[in-house]
């Protein structure tokens, strides 16, 4: 049972009906990390999709830049309760990458430089629902926010938008990723407040 601290209101934040349940609006962009920030030189960067059969599809940084990109504006929601509305990103839709990928898998495990992983159903990556984003607010994505490129899946809690994305492993069975294996929800829908396992 928490004691309310008289006169405490914390950093300026507000309520807004575009916020999912339990979220606060923030105007800054908090940086949360689980380890040291990886530094990935662009000449060695690559993004790979590996199917459940072991077939690999790989893109270098230059190849990524040549794909059709979009500028999108989305709301992002972190499981630690802050939400940021109207953020703009430049990125390539995962649909573009999956055009030539042949798969019968239902699940994906996204993995990052530095070792982070997160799992989600494949269908949540497709049909315009996710991007490989490399610019934020018109500038190259900073390393502390996941640069050179991160996965962006705005309809789920932000821990699913793996920073420093390196690849996606397609799987027949779902396998919990970094946070999912230590209490967080396998799916993570902010509108149903799916923060922890069992929510």
């Amino acid at each position: 049972m928490s004691i309310v601290s008289p006169g405490f209101s914390g950093r300026r934040r507000g309520a807004d009906n575009r916020l999912p349940p339990g979220q606060y609006l923030t105007h800054d962009f908090p940086v949360l990390s689980a380890g040291p920030t990886p530094r990935v030189p662009l000449d060695r960067w690559e993004f790979r999709i590996t199917t459940e059969q072991g077939e690999k599809h790989t893109w270098s940084w230059n190849e990524l830049q040549e794909l059709t990109s979009e500028q999108i504006t989305v709301d992002i929601h972190c499981v630690t309760k802050w939400s940021k509305l109207g953020t703009t990103w430049t990125g390539v839709s995962l649909d573009t990458f999956f055009e030539d990928v042949d798969t019968a898998a239902d699940y994906a495990l996204a993995y990052s430089y530095g070792g982070y992983t997160t799992n989600l159903p494949l269908e949540d990556l497709l049909d315009g629902r996710s991007y490989i984003a490399y610019e934020y607010e018109g500038e190259p994505l900073a390393p502390e926010h996941g640069g050179p490129a991160r996965l962006l899946v705005p309809h789920l809690y932000l821990w699913k938008s793996a920073k420093w994305i390196r690849g996606i492993q397609l799987q027949i069975e779902d396998e919990p990723g970094f946070w999912e294996s230590v209490g967080y929800h396998d799916y993570g829908d902010p509108w149903r407040e799916q923060r922890y396992q069992g929510d």
Binding site: S2, I3, S5, G7, F8, G10, R11, R13, Y24
Partner: protein, 216 residues
């Protein structure tokens, strides 16, 4: 000063976690070192105002005597000194890292301990020295306590040398020789702590004898 009902007592070097809750349920939490020995149920924290620090801002400007606040602790069993430890002690403080080390100095005095203590306190300038008067008094009156100051930005006129960041020479001359196997406690911002700890190990102190607490 906080009155904590049924406070179980604490060791010098321990801290508490302070949690603030806004009426809408929003919470913020920070850790603060306990600055001195317990006085029954009363404990002392030293909080420095940090720009943009929502907890320190509340505690130093809004919080009024008598207001309730949630505290968890005492916490920490590694970075502690107890009067029954009689090896010589070397305390290395960077900025607000002085707080848990001051608790150790005060505990030593309260226990009337003869354990030799040396303190090296690094701050940006003389005006940023916390507990300045008390340290001056203790350096004069507490037998077996030596205090050396190090300034990184601006120094008083009578201070030998130029302002500089902590170096091998500072730790070597202000501290105990490694073969005396002193207990070393280093506290302050992460960068300061890592630099100082690396130097102490390079000077021959066993890594296990160099205890660190990072304030970030």
């Amino acid at each position: 000063m906080l009155d904590v009902p049924d406070w179980p007592g604490h060791d010098a070097g321990q801290h508490v976690d302070v949690r603030l809750t806004a009426p809408d349920g929003y919470t913020a939490q920070r850790s603060y070192s306990i600055a001195g020995p317990a006085d029954g149920d009363r404990i002392e924290l030293t909080v420095q105002h940090v720009d943009d620090g929502e907890v320190s801002d509340y505690l130093t400007t809004v919080y009024a005597i008598g207001d309730p606040v949630e505290v968890r602790g005492p916490v920490g069993g590694w970075f502690v000194w107890r009067p029954e430890h009689t090896d010589p002690v070397f305390l290395v403080a960077g900025g607000s890292g002085i707080v848990p080390l001051m608790a150790m100095i005060r505990a030593r005095a309260a226990a009337d301990s003869k354990t030799p203590f040396r303190l090296l306190y690094s701050a940006r300038s003389p005006s940023e020295i916390i507990f300045a008067d008390e340290l001056r008094r203790r350096a004069r009156d507490d037998r077996g306590l030596d205090v050396t100051y190090l300034y990184t930005r601006s120094a008083p006129e009578d201070w030998p040398g130029r302002p500089h960041r902590i170096s091998v020479a500072d730790l070597n001359s202000a501290g105990w020789p490694a073969d005396l196997r002193p207990a070393c406690f280093v506290c302050g911002p992460t960068g300061f702590v890592e630099t100082a700890a690396d130097i102490l190990v390079a000077l021959g102190h066993e890594p296990r004898r160099v205890k660190t607490e990072r304030f970030g």
